[in-house]
Amino acid sequence: MMEEAFDEIEDIHSGIIKNPDAASTTVSDGRMYPPHPSFKLRNVEPPTYRHRGGHKTVIAPNGSFRIFRIEADLSETIIFEKHGADGKGYWDG
């Protein structure tokens, strides 16, 4: 569901065609991609994925997720969040 949400947003707003091999490229194409299994952090719960560069996505079992931007001082700012199918975010406890 989250991958579909990412793709839908980017199909509408970026105008950049999705590259299925984007995770292995060394050149940014300017399109936002959903979290990639290769970028899952070790021993971090709930599951957390780095985007290459300065963002992270945290995904909860109920499907809720948050995208964080890593700031210059390494603090993290929420830039997007979506509740799960049960209407809750993992952050709701």
Binding site: S24, D29, L41, R50, R52, G53, G54, I70, D73
Partner: protein, 178 residues
Amino acid sequence: MDHIEEIVREIEKRMPGVRTRIERGENSRGPVWIDVTNGKYGVAIEWRQGMGFGLTSLPSDNLGEASDETYDSASELSERVEELLSTGQRTSPPKEALLKTLREHRRVSQDTLAQLMGVSQPNISRLERRIDMSIRTLRAVIEAIGGRLEIVARFGDDAVRITQFDEPEARAGSRKRR
């Protein structure tokens, strides 16, 4: 101490007072991320086996799948990190471009490029319209406009830089660095 910790140590030695954070991916071949900040400016470094180091200034608006800049060696990387953190410069993402666009972006005229390569201006004009050329020629063009050519092969999620066609000196440097 693994090579990631060695790099962190090198960065901390170059820039006393910086704060670093290591985050590792599940796969032992990478990626591994090293975030570095001096409080005012920050960078994210990404390492993956066979792909070298990616470097992106923080915060980044880019949610794409690649770092802004790439480096083969830890020393080049550390030098650039020091430059970014001490000056507040930001990393610059590479873009896809035709040779003509790339030359123009570098503000090099066809005449100047022709002189640098020891060929005529019409030769450069023809070269920029070609759909195929030797690696040697392509390298000469890229180096004449101030760049460095790298060839990367992709196999699914893996990407490997091909060093076979590097100049002997670069090849030796690449071996030394790994």
